[in-house]
Symmetry: none
Subunit: 190 residues, 4 copies
């Protein structure tokens, strides 16, 4: 059954995600991954060429789930502010709701993997958020700053605070999430 094959791949990805998030890439032996996924060690290598390839595949999988979160609900007719807050908010909530994914991404980005990835990510410029920000600048609603900076102003606090919450440093109420989003907007609006 094709079903079963997919199942094992999924089980391995899921197990890796959890274990990587808990222990980090380097403290996550393939033996433990396979045990948690209830497969043999060798089975990992049927689906992924190497541990590195598994990490990359996991990144792609998570990125694939994150991407629609960014784009969905964009309404070009609606005001820029609404769109910006919508995108940041959905990502913020995604990160808060998916701690394993968030921890994985953090590790990934601060590892040789992520660095290589980002360097080759020239397509980042056509991410929806970048377009929206551009429109805001054109409409003189948003400060005339490079998009990287506007991007950092929006996502810096989100990432920073999601982390605080995730590591149990403190608790973000719904109200506070809204306040953060508003503040991000305040930092870029003219």
């Amino acid at each position: 059954m094709a079903k079963k094959e997919t199942d094992k791949r999924e089980a391995i990805l899921q197990a890796s995600l959890e274990i990587f998030a808990e222990n980090g890439f380097h403290s996550s032996p393939t033996s433990e991954i396979s045990r948690r996924a209830s497969v043999g060690t060798g089975t990992i290598y049927r689906y992924f060429e190497s541990k590195d390839a598994l990490i990359e595949a996991l990144y792609e999988e998570i990125d694939g789930r994150l991407r629609p979160v960014t784009s969905e609900g964009i309404d070009l007719e609606a005001p820029v502010r609404e769109n910006v807050l919508g995108i940041i908010g959905r990502i913020f909530r995604f990160l808060l709701a998916n701690p394993h994914e968030f921890k994985f991404l953090e590790q990934y980005y601060f590892s040789p993997y992520g660095v290589a990835k980002k360097s080759s990510d020239k397509e980042s410029s056509d991410r929806p958020i970048i377009n929206i920000l551009h429109r805001g600048v054109e409409q003189q609603i948003i400060k005339d700053l490079p998009s990287e900076i506007l991007f950092g102003l929006c996502f810096g606090p989100v990432v920073f605070l999601a982390r605080d919450q995730l590591y149990g440093y403190f608790e973000l109420s719904n109200e506070m999430v809204e306040a953060v989003l508003e503040s991000c907007w305040d930092s870029i609006k003219l």
Copy 2:
């Protein structure tokens, strides 16, 4: 000679910092650290109980250098805005000017080490920046939000953008640094 003893410790810390920043904790064998520090492998264990202890000590050392950066130049007579921008700005510039330290800190915070550390860091509440922010809130110059959130709004963008610059993603001009600082202020001011 007490002098010499200190010298070796320093050499080991310095060598670790460079190598950790370049290769990450897990791709930095103690043998390479000792070689770069021009000491014997065993010598590391005279000054630090283990590799983990070395990492902790290095964190403490960097934190010790970062702390004065935060506190220096604070003038309680001066306006809150000035103080806040001063602190954030000094940290921003410190991170940009000390890439090894920054990369180390990032790794540290996203590893089991950093998590444990932060949880036990209740003293963080008496960091000068927290006090200043509190005063701003009291003076109704700054939004009435939990200090963790105000902190995240100030440092989120700084960390995010320092990272972009460090990994060569783009270049932050002096002017842009100023614009970022102003924007951080915009995000917390009433």
Copy 3:
């Protein structure tokens, strides 16, 4: 179909022969053998009990093809010299013309397999060449030496030089092959 069954067995033997000759026993996974033979991995185990058994079977198969090369064309009426040169010559040419078989045999003989095999090969004494050599000794045409030594004098150079040619060390012309055969005879003749 009995036909098909035989076909698969043949395909597996042929594929093994090629791959063993190219990469050696230990760098020839059963998975690669089955791929080249266009059968499933498991199928190998229908025809052979284990990889070792496959190697043994392959040896038997090649030996079975080599044996007639030795015996064919023997004419007991003809002079000993003619028969000896005929046998050595046919084997020499067989080895030169069948590099895969030759490489396989070399590996086989220099492995635990071959050692075990040869020890139990007491029937070797009734190989035709041995008989011919005996007759030569009786007729006082050939030196009175143990047949193993006469055998070694005949086949040592043949194997040695076939190897040189096979590994591309140099090229044996037809003329040279004849010269070698004559020299082998010179080494055993009285």
Copy 4:
């Protein structure tokens, strides 16, 4: 002590030689080598970059011991026949007296290692035996054949018969060794 360092290296080489000769390269785990050498597994890697490098080093070591066996006792004043028989004889006796070395060399030559080695061994032409053979050809004492063939005629039987003896197939008396050497000469002499 420099002594001890050398000791471990020697112990590893000796242990490898024995184990390789007994079981073959591929059935000789580094763990077993280290056990027999009474060192830690990791120690092997202090002296040799990899198992492959160990095999190469072992070859070089044995080759280094074999080389003088070839050259010693050559007397250019003496008759060619005497020199040729001397060289072949010394090698023959060396192989018979050093079964581990012989088995190792056989494995080595029939492995990717040996093939690569021989291809790059263009210096083989200045081996003493080649020179002697040339002189014999010039003096019209030896057949006018390419040196590779003369070489094969001399060493083919030696290698072949040494093998027979080594694997216990039969026993070579001193007298027989002499007879073989004489026969080799018969095969190349005019």
